[in-house]
């Protein structure tokens, strides 16, 4: 396994190594003894069986000894868990929002990002929320995971020890786009982070800083649209968006079919209340984006869709 890059991650790794080590030894003992007995007492060896009904001492030993072994494992696992309980005082707080099928991270000064950006060496507390279903925030390199439950804010914390970009997954199954609900945890030097947080132009251009105005193409990816819609003409779960602007489509409105022309109003309505007009032949599964997308984001997306010729 790749090395953990957080303090809590090292706790997890040492507990894993100790417990897995004991397990491997137990496994080798069981399988080794079985193989030896099968070989040593095979019928073709002319063995005469001896009826042994049991042995009270042996039963006691192999009941009590494993109890101590597993209690030791339990204790070791608990230690690392206890440390996760409370974030250190003065940790940087980030509010995370999960939704089908995208992440957004809000910083105290109002900056939001689709990546979890953090300074190296400083404790970061993530207050986790969900806008629709249960999701789960997972950064393997941090050994950090927590379910995002709607209506129930939960916090996790980490102190990253190394700068870099790390995979960030959703690990609670949340429908069609579940495996596309990916992002990155980006750990920066303190100065670089400060610059990024203030939206300064010298911050890395590659990192989307929404305050600078995201492009429609970036939003299309970061908001999870790509999980169901292509831009190359192939239908997925939802219709492709290639060249749809200005076209006529048949939609189902309250159970009745009708024909509409795709214009800006239609796209806006389809983003905010997708169930109001569902394109015939596709399931009504798109999550509504009302309260999720900001006005400028809606406009950017409309412009982007218009540009898909």
């Amino acid at each position: 396994m790749g090395r953990a890059v957080t303090v809590l991650g090292h706790n997890t790794d040492s507990a894993f190594l100790v417990i897995a080590g004991v397990c491997v030894m137990l496994f080798l003992a069981i399988i080794g003894l079985t193989a030896y007995f099968v070989f040593r007492y095979r019928r073709s060896n002319g063995e005469i069986p001896e009826d042994i009904h049991g042995n009270a001492l042996l039963e006691t030993v192999w009941t009590v000894l494993p109890i101590f072994i597993v209690l030791y494992m339990f204790y070791y696992g608990w230690l690392g868990y206890d440390a996760r309980r409370k974030a250190p005082e003065g940790a940087l707080t980030v509010r995370a929002f999960a939704q089908m099928w995208a992440w957004s991270f809000e910083y105290e000064n109002g900056v939001t990002s689709d990546r979890l950006v953090a300074p190296v060496g400083r404790p970061v507390k993530v207050a986790l929320n969900s806008r629709d279903l249960i999701h789960s925030l997972y950064v393997p390199a941090f050994r950090m995971k927590q379910d995002a439950v709607p209506g129930l804010e939960r916090t996790v914390w980490f102190t990253a020890e190394k700068t870099g970009e790390y995979d960030l997954f959703c690990t609670e199954y949340c429908g069609t786009g579940h495996s596309q609900m990916l992002s990155k945890a980006v750990v920066m030097e303190e100065a670089e982070f400060a610059a990024w947080l203030s939206g300064a132009p010298e911050a890395k251009a590659a990192l989307a800083t929404p305050s600078a105005g995201p492009s429609g193409a970036e939003l299309f990816k970061s908001k999870g649209c790509v999980a169901c819609h292509t831009t190359d003409g192939r239908p997925l779960v939802g219709p492709t968006l290639k060249g749809i602007f200005g076209k006529k489509v048949r939609v189902s409105t309250n159970g009745k079919e009708r024909e509409v022309t795709i214009d800006e109003d239609y796209i806006r309505r389809s983003e905010l209340e997708p169930a109001s007009d569902v394109v015939v032949g596709f399931p009504p599964v798109m999550p509504p984006q009302k309260g999720v997308l900001k006005e400028e984001e809606i406009e950017a997306l409309i412009e982007y869709i218009k540009s898909l010729k």
Binding site: A15, F16, I19, A20, C23, F27, I30, L33, T34, F37, V38, Y41, R42, E47, I48, P49, E50, D51, I52, G54, N55, E59, W62, T63, P66, I67, M73, F74, Y76, G77, W78, G80, Y81, R84, R85, L133, I134, S136, Y138, P140, A141, R143, M144, K145, Q146, V149, D167, C170, T171, E172, Y173, G175, H178, S179, L182, A227, L236, V237, P284, V285
Partner: protein, 532 residues
């Protein structure tokens, strides 16, 4: 299978039409009904699993879209758990052999027994109907609030599981009553074969835990149809409550799956070691121990779900304790081999494969039970691998061992032993090639239920997919050999393995009545004196 003088199988002038089977109250015929139907659904489950693996051979949609993939893994879970592994051993071998092993002519409630099978078929029909209508895409766990919102036929799938639960409860009631009321003279509790002990402990879990699942499933339906708002946070409900109610049943259900399999292994090992089982009472008590402590560990599925810190610590503690009775069983099986005279027959090979695979399953369970480690491994491929080692490597291989041990008794014919041994080896290699890489994928952080994956996981995924092909090849060889054996195999004797339990004292296949005269039991189930 049928030919003249084929006992309960009919022929020789007795009734043998379809209705003499599907309305039969003979526990042996009901056992065969379950055998045929459960194995048919197993084929469906294997096909779905095979397609799921194949889809992941390249990035993006290969043979199906994401939404199809999600339905396929949901159905794979529902079919394998509720239609195959939960009923397989108790309903097939429990029905067929439990009454014979305790010296009874049938179960306590033969008509209820038949009703259980009909409920089972009704549940199966409903579950497979969703396949045609629009299969659920929630995962077999039906987690709220996703299961409340998705547009697929969740209510029907959930109702199917509810009906299957009814079948399970009725079977449990029947077995508990039979064990208490119908033991032959001299068959005290401490003379019961360990398979009977295991099925008895299982039956109690079925009776006690399944109704909770039933309530939970009805609540999901009520929530979907009437919007009552018990689980939906948008209506003030609590989605974590769903998870509690679900796992209060579904964790003990893991023991419903594995305990009867352990019972089979406890039968096979002494017979092939030709000596009395080591620590009979320890094994019997450990079955009850697993049934008891196993109902206090459900919270270990929810360490990162947002339940309390204290709950996490307590559930982790019980999770480690439940390992003890399982370990006791393994130690006693290995102890039985000591100073035996071991005959390397096919059922014994499957039993050895069971010990190997179940040990991996059990020990990886300890790794998952540790709180801080669970945070990393929860909902990754590590968990997928762990429970396949338990349910397939454990319960599944034990079931295969049972097939090779008891089918000659059920059909009166023997399969080809050489082919059977080869199929065991191929299955063993295929299984490990398929599931061991998943442990490593999980440690590397690959989340489960992913339609697509990042490039760093490709190599191990491909190895695992190749393993699935070997496993399927092994299954085809094994079932072809067993089928051929059942219909065309050489006639076998009353007692081909030299077993000491009561089923080996009656003809193969058994007659219409198990015993012309109820036997008087005078010695223990693993007393091979006079049989060696």
């Amino acid at each position: 299978m049928a030919s003249e003088g084929a006992g309960y199988l009919g022929g020789g002038g007795g009734p043998n039409g379809l209705s003499s089977w599907i309305f039969s109250t003979d526990h042996k015929r009901i056992g065969i009904l379950y055998l045929v139907s459960i194995l048919s659904f197993f084929v469906v489950g294997v096909s779905l699993g095979f397609l799921m693996r194949l889809e992941l051979i390249s990035h993006g949609p290969t043979i199906m879209e994401a939404s199809t993939y999600n339905s396929v893994f949901t159905l794979h879970g529902v079919v394998m758990l509720f239609l195959f592994i939960i009923p397989a051993t108790p309903s097939i071998f429990g029905n067929f052999f439990l009454p014979i092993m305790i010296g009874a002519n049938d179960v306590s409630f033969p008509k209820l027994n038949l009703l259980s099978w009909w409920f089972y078929m009704a549940g199966a029909a409903l579950a497979l109907a969703t396949l045609a209508l629009g299969p659920a895409d929630t995962g077999w766990t039906f987690y709220a609030p996703y299961s409340l919102r998705t547009g697929t036929y969740v209510s029907l799938a959930v109702f199917a599981v509810f009906v299957l639960g009814l079948s399970s409860i009725l079977t449990g009631i029947n077995f508990v009553t039979t064990v208490h009321r119908l033991r032959a003279p001299g068959m005290g509790f401490w003379r019961m074969p360990l398979f009977v002990w295991a099925v008895y402990a299982t039956a109690w879990i079925q009776i006690v835990a399944t109704p909770i699942l039933g309530v939970n499933l009805l609540l999901v339906i009520a929530e979907r149809v009437f919007g009552i708002g018990v689980f939906d946070p948008a209506k003030g409900g609590d989605p974590i409550l769903y998870q509690h109610l679900f796992w209060i049943y579904s964790h003990p259900a893991v023991y419903i799956m594995i305990l009867p399999g352990m019972g089979i292994i406890s039968e096979i090992i002494p017979v092939f070691a030709r000596k009395v089982i080591f620590g009979y009472r320890a094994i019997a008590y450990s079955s009850l121990g697993i049934a008891g402590v196993g109902s206090l560990v459900w919270g270990h599925h929810m360490f990162v779900s947002g339940s309390s810190y204290t709950a996490g610590v307590i559930f982790s503690f019980f999770t480690f304790l439940v390992a003890i009775p399982s370990a006791i069983k393994v130690f006693n099986w290995v102890g039985t081999l000591y100073k035996g005279s071991i005959w390397l027959g096919t059922p014994f090979f499957f039993a050895l494969a069971f010990i190997f695979l179940f040990s991996i399953g059990g020990l990886t369970g300890l790794i998952l039970g540790a709180l801080s480690v669970n945070v990393h491994l929860h909902d990754t491929y590590f968990v997928v691998s762990h429970f396949h080692y338990i349910k397939f490597g454990g319960a599944g291989f034990a079931f295969f061992a049972g097939l090779h041990y008891w089918l000659p008794k059920m059909t009166g014919r023997m399969y080809n032993a050489r082919v059977a041994n080869w199929s065991c080896l191929i299955l063993f290699i295929g299984f490990n090639t398929l599931f061991f890489p998943m442990l490593l994928l999980g440690i590397e952080g690959m989340p489960r239920r992913y339609f697509d994956y990042l490039p760093q996981y490709s190599t191990l995924q491909i190895v695992s997919i190749v393993g699935s092909w070997v496993l399927v090849a092994g299954l085809i060889i094994m079932f072809a050999n067993l089928l051929r054996g059942a219909f065309r195999g050489a006639r076998t004797t009353e007692n081909p393995w030299g077993g000491a339990t009561l089923e080996w004292k009656i003809p193969s296949p058994p007659g219409r009545e198990n015993f012309e005269k109820i036997p008087e039991v005078t010695k223990g189930p693993y007393d091979f004196r006079g049989l060696r």
